[in-house]
Symmetry: C2
Subunit: 126 residues, 2 copies
């Protein structure tokens, strides 16, 4: 079957607005390890999270509940932390909310092509 071509949204790197909370602890770009990143992406739920962030990031980042995932909160905490500690996403604390976005620039720098693989993925076709 033909795969619906997913166009990657244009990345407009905007300077951080003043008052942006600092990111939660995360590996620096030079600390990213391919095997760790691949391990973080080897889960369908996390693949869904990252892909949704990549395709629908009209706002800067999104809180946890925005994803509409039918899992307990503690499970989501687990998966978002796995993605953050692997260096795939960056999380910031906005009051009560913890918002996430993909570290596209860092991933493109260290592992070019990886982000496009996630975008091309679909839960059904693998």
């Amino acid at each position: 079957m033909p795969v619906t071509a997913q166009t990657r949204p244009a990345v407009t790197v905007m300077p951080e607005p003043p008052g942006t909370p600092p990111p939660l602890p995360e590996p620096a770009i030079e600390e990213l390890r391919l095997e760790t990143v691949l391990g973080a992406l080897s889960d369908p739920l996390r693949l869904r999270i990252v892909r949704k962030l990549l395709l629908e990031r009209e706002a800067f980042d999104h809180p946890c509940g925005w994803f509409g995932l039918d899992r307990p909160k503690s499970s989501l905490t687990h998966h978002f932390r796995a993605l953050r500690e692997a260096g795939v996403i960056r999380q910031r604390q906005y009051g009560l909310e913890r918002r996430s976005h993909v570290r596209v620039e860092d991933l493109d720098t260290r592992f070019p092509g990886l982000v496009d693989l996630v975008i091309a993925w679909s839960p059904e076709s693998g």
Copy 2:
């Protein structure tokens, strides 16, 4: 530090010579799943195996002992089977030996860019 550029060997797709043993059971190309492949590649030892196969495949394929991995035989069986069942490598039985090579064409078709990520990887830099 600057990363040593790894050039990808030219792939000469040769027709199978007569008398080639059939491949061991493996997923068809349309059955490949990104999360499974990423999971198979999220192990440093398996990443080493695949990368070495990609960079030094002067012969068609290689037996298990060619890799010079300092692990018990049963461990190697485990990892090679994981790679084969994920669809990353193809294995054929030549008498006593079981030789492996990477399914480059299939991976390039389904997950373009993934093979290059493995080639660019190095055990130290991640």
